[in-house]
Symmetry: C2
Subunit: 421 residues, 2 copies
């Protein structure tokens, strides 16, 4: 099954080998970037690039991928990253090469990008009801022999999956979606629906009941690491309860898939989970920094922007809501202040105090000037911004400018951007 992935790797001539990065004692290294002797090359590349654009720090990205894989392996669970954050085939391949079991996607059209690229195993973690969507997905998955898993949270969803399985003469693995507190999709772990739907999936022709799946997205409204850990514990509790109740009917729950980046960073005990599905960890953003789960220098994705005008209060940047998004955090959450934190290009480690992007128009960012900060960007100066929520920011861009530790750059496509169907 891995053959198809390596076929893809072989034919993609733009692909680099993974860089070798020395891990630091704190787990998320950025040692190479802090060496003063290579800084001029990096800065030169950033000064030459047109703005606004998304810059990916290659060694931070690699470190984030390696660290999460190590965390999963230490806990004895599989890692199946959600690609909604990066939407990029090159990054999915880095994740698989590091040891990920497959990927997770939300929408059918974004799944097709990864299936066609040869990713061998994929969970479509979104309720599907419509024959047309299912058919276009299954056609591609069958052709590529992609290992697929689906979710369902309603009788209508189970019927739609069964009908699609029949049309394409396939057996589909189905996970029951459990609501662990976000109150979005899924059935409550203590509900009659949880048991009845599991039994329905198991007894429906063409479907194989594979386990249960959750997303504790409410963690994004936590205010610190302890609160995030409490959400992870509640998720573990809900999933253990659902598993126990379903297994009491004689039905084995083989897989228990959980995950959001803050919950998996906040705990080492995943309870009954067999798999975690974080997405945001590849890039991180100021939300995880606010929660105390990462530092700014761990963030791999920044927005490079230029000052195009200045007034008494603000430096006006050439990036607005059409670059930074107007998200204050995931799921409508807020980090309290502004739409991004900006640093000087000279502060590679983001160790100093940032200036805040306080307001956004569509193509303008209002960077609040601060006379006490010691940094007042000049007209034309470039800044690097850590966004509140990296996922929608990546979705707004066409390409990443990927920089290695020597300042060499290449471009990767945000291949699954805007594929919301």
């Amino acid at each position: 099954m891995w053959n198809s992935l390596y076929e893809f790797v072989r034919v993609d001539r733009n692909r680099e080998l993974l860089p070798i990065v020395r891990p630091s004692s704190r787990g998320c290294p950025n040692i190479l970037f802090s060496l003063e002797n290579i800084m001029p090359d990096l800065k030169r590349t950033l000064l030459a690039a047109d703005t606004p654009r998304l810059v990916l720090d290659r060694s931070r990205l690699a470190a984030n991928i390696r660290n999460m894989q190590a965390r999963a392996e230490a806990a004895g669970v599989a890692l199946r990253p959600h690609i909604k954050t990066h939407k990029c085939v090159e990054i999915a391949i880095m994740q698989l090469e590091a040891g990920a079991a497959g990927v997770t996607t939300a929408k059918v059209d974004e799944a097709l990008v990864f299936i066609k690229a040869g990713i061998p195993s994929l969970t479509l973690a979104y309720p599907l009801l419509r024959a047309k969507k299912l058919d276009r997905l299954l056609k591609a998955a069958k052709k590529r022999s992609t290992g697929m898993r689906f979710v369902a949270d309603s009788e209508a969803g189970v019927k739609a999956l069964s009908a699609a399985a029949k049309r394409r003469t396939m057996e589909l693995r189905v996970l029951l979606k459990i609501d662990v507190g976000l109150h979005r999709c899924g059935v409550a772990p203590d509900s009659a629906d949880a048991v009845e739907l599991a039994k329905l999936i198991a007894s429906t022709p063409g479907l194989r009941f594979t386990g249960i799946l959750s997303h504790a997205g409410q963690v994004y409204s936590a205010t610190n690491a302890a609160e995030a850990e409490a959400v992870a514990q509640e998720e573990a509790h809900c999933m253990a309860l659902a598993k126990e109740r379903i297994e009491a009917t004689g039905l084995p729950v083989r897989e228990v898939s959980v995950g959001a980046t803050p919950t998996v960073l906040a705990t080492k005990d995943f309870g009954p989970a067999t798999e975690i599905r974080p997405g945001n960890y590849v890039f991180l953003d100021s939300t995880c920094v606010r929660l105390g789960l990462a530092q700014y220098r761990d963030v791999a994705l920044t927005v490079l922007a230029s000052v195009v005008s200045k007034n008494d209060t603000y430096c006006i940047l050439d990036c607005g809501s059409k670059t930074l998004s107007s998200d204050m955090g995931a799921h409508g959450g807020s980090n309290g202040h502004g739409f991004g934190q900006a640093w000087s290009l000279d502060d590679r480690d983001m160790a100093g105090q940032p200036l805040v992007v306080e307001k956004l128009s569509e193509e303008h960012g209002f960077l609040r000037r601060d006379p006490d900060s010691g940094w007042d960007p000049d007209l034309g100066e470039r800044v690097r911004i850590v966004p509140n929520h990296s996922c929608p920011v990546a979705n707004l861009a066409v390409k990443y400018l990927v920089l290695n530790e020597k300042g060499k750059s290449r471009k990767w496509s945000v291949a699954a951007r805007a594929l919301v169907r």
Copy 2:
């Protein structure tokens, strides 16, 4: 100069002729859509389409274009619509055919789309400082003989334009950007800078001082039509002051360009303006409805979405912040409640009470169920949503599904989407 536009029109075989729409007494007609005998065809088309997607109501779009043109002509000013809202060549052509003097764009790469499509006259209403950007724009404009205007609000901007004019042996028309209260780009009308920069532009080789330009974006935080009109009056006052002070130095201010959709809808007296540059009026959105400047049935752009899950509180829709954006309004403004208003497909005129999209995840909308509303969408049911701010919503989509009054559909490309540089 118009030849190049008509060349484009001729070679684009997908382009339809404009529909003939009967204007109603209230100026923004939707008569054809309310005829019951054609509703089944429209509904059939909407039921067949995959979701989520952006639907454009062709006759509402045509009416909005025609009505704004009539408003400009009645006031004796030119209309130069901002394409940031639609980013679509087909719509720009409709605007020009209705009588627009040209178009306005924010960024260089989006301008290139319209230059290459043969749009004959274009204002780049964004401060440009960088030689690389100016050169790629001027190269294309020169090749197509596109009539270009630029803005400047700093000495550095004037120098950059002059250097570019010299490199490409062109004369560039430059408008001085005036800050009329948004406090973003531009110089204050009563400042020494306003007079000095106008004189600098006029005396700089390669540049022709053409006039002054403003954007009263603060109007989006108004709460009613009277407040919006007051912003328009303040803008007119500022522009009259700037014009008078510059002309007192002996320098004629030939053009006075103003505009945002709410200010131009809220007033009939544009003061010293010679040109208006609204953008949002082609689609409208719930912001203009909130201000009392339009009704929901005037809105040409809606998001078609499906219910994919239901819980006690919400219908979960397949459109989240990656479709609706997380904008509460333009320039960070808010309309107070939620991320869109949803109607049943049976309520074509949006006359009934909508349900509110109260929260968003990236790919999920939380539509609040309301037992008193008489409408509780079923699992799988389609809804039509009016967004808070149509501009970023269009920017997130790849195509518009354009429907005419008979339910026939075609697709138009959001050709300048994501072109933020």
